[in-house]
Symmetry: C2
Subunit: 574 residues, 2 copies
């Protein structure tokens, strides 16, 4: 491509709301342009990167035997009523009406659609398994769209849905998809981790996420420093450590702790290791039937509550902060809540790590008082509603549940998620096949997503510097940028044109920067737009020299003009 | 692809509302499945055909120097307000609101979006010309979606928009796009015509349509029997024929024509050739500012009114039938309307063919009376508002405007439309560039559309028989279908597998029908789904023979098994 004929532009200023590198550089580099909050146009450069990613995904999905379909984007609301998600999905599901008043949704995901496509057309176990995928538009009406393509409203997703006669066959496909995803992200040149994950609103029995590692990631990932254990913090577990409290209390006693509300204050005041205390986190839970109630979660003083775990523990749709008034109305004493003597009708959950723990300090449910020497040995003390669940967040230094080595926490951007759905969708939608005995059974399903447009941003979050993007060559819009120092100098232009043609013949994607621009801005554009290799055809050509640059390492090689082609190919292939 | 592992199914019954072949066969052949009125899922077979078409279009657009973008599908309503189309576009524009109450539209076309992308990023004439295209989702909330993919609501369109500094450069690009479109439709193996066309709601100064010829087409195309003249009936013209009325009337006179309201009745009653009569067609015109009025159109008794021409003649948004009450309220006498003595404030238009015509019969604007011997020589007779326009529909046998040979009328399906927009969009949107003298000028634009998903249906309307689809090989999902007569016979399966692999190696798209099905249904599926070439590996393989079929001609060739490959390649390449 010749830049002089190409619709590519670069901007000096990043948008005011751009806080992450990918958002800034995608807009400044002329890849995307914002249309509305979370909605973007893709300019030619952006479309090229999108297509590179799309092609890698399509090739690997096809190789794995999946078949491409295209499900409608505007989808009948009534399909979503069949599974109950019409109500459950929340405000991210944009509901619309056509001119006749019929209700539709803009597809945020397509489980219902694909089940509707398959029911009635796959009739027998002989037609199974089938894995159908699409690379298609999605819309989620995010409350706070942000970070450019990382959390948009309109976006491109690869979603695949598999149908099986048995759980074993689903397991096989789930593993195949994991391998396929690994190949896809490897081919894209990304550093990523496969982690255990929460199944969220999609539902089902098991899931794994694919995380591109990047400091700006919104997800916390727990990884073992020794073995291959990796999990989203939302589901990460740890080895239980049993420490004995060196302090032995003779009797359980109430102690006066005036105005000491936080665990830190109380423990300091009483001279106690916070490990031997119980922290209470009171939340307002909202359920899918609209019901709301205050729920208290108890974790160790040294732990913090993991909200997704907490939500799943009680089956709530959402947890929000409860106000002091709401707590008091529920009979609780803010700052002094503990598991003993709670009002009978307040639901509470205790973290697994506290099971059988003794010699603890906790709130006394009485203003300005805590309890010392409490033990959770006897669950009956706590009444009938006692439930223990894993609700604490794993923290740096906790022990790996697999090997016991210390765990680390790192940041990741979720770019893929695979689920074992089972019959969560096929059962309510009455989608069945006839098994070997002629008996109707609901399809056993898996589903497999990749955030295609988000991957563009994730790749940049992982690969950039303070000058611009550093594309992995597999997804770069152009791999080589030939910069003509002065297009009025015929010898420079001719040499560049020849090199451009030679590289194109060799199958390399090349940009020829033949604009009548100054040299400085051309170099700045090379760095901002992020081409992996640059060739500078400038003044030194008179002496038979050109410069070849590696964008990633910053290395500059002065080579004989006749060796420029080889040097470029060497840098591409190393 | 092995059918046994492929998600393809065929249905015995066509949908009840399917009246055209493409709708029936696309649904029965497992290409598409209806989701709602005018909204379809594409099953793998349908997606393959779509991709074949998409790839041809992309290749030719790229060759022509156009650059692919992806404009947002959900588009801010305010962009549409800038050009006034938010109101003008009518109910096909689906307006939606997000969770915060912001207004958007589902893109039915993207002139506003692309102008918004370009304004501010293209600043100088040096960056022009640019042609940006996309192959993307569109939504038009049709009042009566029908005919499957021919008139859907959600569909795939290729839309391109070019930006120029001069009218001459737009003309050059317009011609280039016409050539590119011709290549595209030729490569798809379609019989089509390029015709002069009306610019409709898109606006602009000139346009051409690309029509796939098919009996079921909704458009009437006027073609010359001798030269290359071709036009949509909405804009077709004809050579003016001047015939002299053999009857000479001494004086203009009112004649009593009791209850004779239609031209036929009146002319028969008066013994007059209807060519020498004036037919009045009264309509209610609706304008884009909401204004409504009765307008009378006068054409020759032997002609009929062409509504698009009539609409354009008065700049109306729509013409609808006027009721007798509405006519009477406007001071008209239904059945007896004529150009002389009309109420002063009734707008009327006379067809060009009647300019200077004499010796005519027309309504007398008086119940039960017509006028004989009227002449239109003296326009002043008709008052100040007299306008002559070409508003009559060209009919079979009229004379070609270019060469005078008889015109024919044929049916076509519009699959492409190219427009010279000029500054219709850039001016109201204030999208300018700096010209050579540093002066800001609005972009001069062209736009170029192809109905991508509609092409699937158009190809079938032109290529089918009573058994199913007859795909042109360039867009067939698979070019060859190898049918194994009995998969339990090892020698049949082995031979078929070998041929399957050989053909795949030769780059041929092959389906291997290895289903444990009876022979009859497999043949029926071959014909319905419409693979261009079939190979039947059946009982005769014992004698070293297989059958090769040409789907289009119906020819059956019994060949030596060893020559099957050559025969298939011969049929593909002929």
């Amino acid at each position: 491509m010749r830049w002089s004929r190409f619709f590519a532009y670069t901007l000096k200023e990043a948008p005011k709301d751009a806080v992450v590198a990918s958002h800034k550089y995608l807009v400044r580099g002329g890849y995307i342009k914002q249309v509305a909050a979370g909605i973007y146009d893709f300019a030619p450069l952006g479309k090229m990167v999108l297509d590179n990613i799309r092609n890698i995904i399509k090739e690997e999905m096809d190789k794995a035997g999946a078949q491409e379909v295209m499900l409608s984007f505007v989808t009948p609301y009534e399909l979503w009523e069949e599974t109950g998600r019409a109500k459950k999905y929340g405000d991210e599901l944009l509901r619309i009406e056509d001119r006749k008043g019929q209700k539709f949704v803009l597809s945020p995901t397509n489980e219902e659609s694909v089940v509707d496509l398959v029911r009635g057309t796959i009739k027998s176990y002989k037609q199974l398994p089938v894995n159908l995928y699409q690379i298609n538009l999605k819309f989620r009406d995010e409350a706070r769209p942000r970070f450019g393509l990382l959390r948009g409203r309109e976006f491109i997703m690869k979603d695949a849905y598999s149908f099986h006669a048995t759980r074993e066959d689903l397991d096989r496909e789930f593993n195949l998809m994991q391998e396929t995803y690994e190949k896809i992200f490897e081919r894209m040149g990304l550093d990523f981790r496969v982690v255990e994950a929460d199944s969220g609103a999609i539902g089902g029995s098991g899931s794994r996420e694919f995380m591109v590692l990047a400091d700006t990631g919104e997800d916390d990932i727990v990884v073992c420093s020794e073995c291959n254990y990796a999990a989203n913090i939302e589901v990460a577990t740890r080895k239980h450590e049993k420490r004995e409290n060196p302090v032995k209390t003779e009797v359980i006693e109430e102690v006066y702790t005036p105005d000491k509300k936080s665990i830190e204050e109380v423990c300091e005041f009483l001279g106690i290791d916070p490990y031997f205390s119980i922290k209470a986190v009171a939340k307002k839970a909202i359920y899918d039937d609209g019901k709301e109630e205050v729920v208290v979660f108890f974790v160790r003083g040294t732990d913090s509550l993991e909200e997704t775990k907490a939500k799943n523990a009680i089956g709530a749709l959402e947890l929000v902060d409860a106000s002091e008034e709401e707590l008091e109305k529920a009979g609780l004493v803010p700052g002094f809540i503990g598991p003993f003597g709670l009002p009978f009708d307040v639901k509470y959950v205790i973290d697994d790590d506290l099971r059988m723990a003794e010699e603890l300090v906790c709130g006394a449910n009485k203003k300005d008082y805590h309890i010392k020497g409490a033990g959770l040995l006897d669950a009956n003390l706590l009444g009938n509603l006692t439930i223990y669940r894993d609700i604490a967040a794993v923290k740096e230094g906790d022990k790996c549940p697999k090997c016991g080595a210390p765990l680390r926490i790192t940041k990741g951007i979720e770019v893929g998620h695979i689920f074992k759905l089972g019959t969560v969708y096929s059962e309510p939608m009455n989608a069945t096949f006839l098994d070997e005995n002629g008996k109707a059974k609901p399809f056993i399903m898996g589903c497999y997503g990749i955030g295609v447009s988000r991957l563009i941003a994730a790749a940049i979050e992982q690969n950039h510097d303070d000058k611009g993007i550093v594309w992995p060559k597999e997804i770069a819009p152009f791999v080589v940028d030939i910069i003509v120092g002065d297009v009025k100098k015929t010898e420079q232009l001719e040499f560049a044109e020849k090199l451009y043609e030679d590289l194109q013949k060799a199958g390399v994607k090349v940009m020829l920067d033949d604009r009548a621009e100054r040299f400085g801005p051309k170099i700045a554009d090379f760095e901002l737009v992020g081409f992996p290799v640059g060739v500078i055809v400038g003044k030194k050509l008179k002496d038979g020299k050109v410069e070849v640059r590696d964008r990633k390492t910053g290395e500059k090689f002065e080579v004989e003009a006749g060796e420029a082609f080889e040097k470029v190919m060497e840098l591409i292939n190393r």
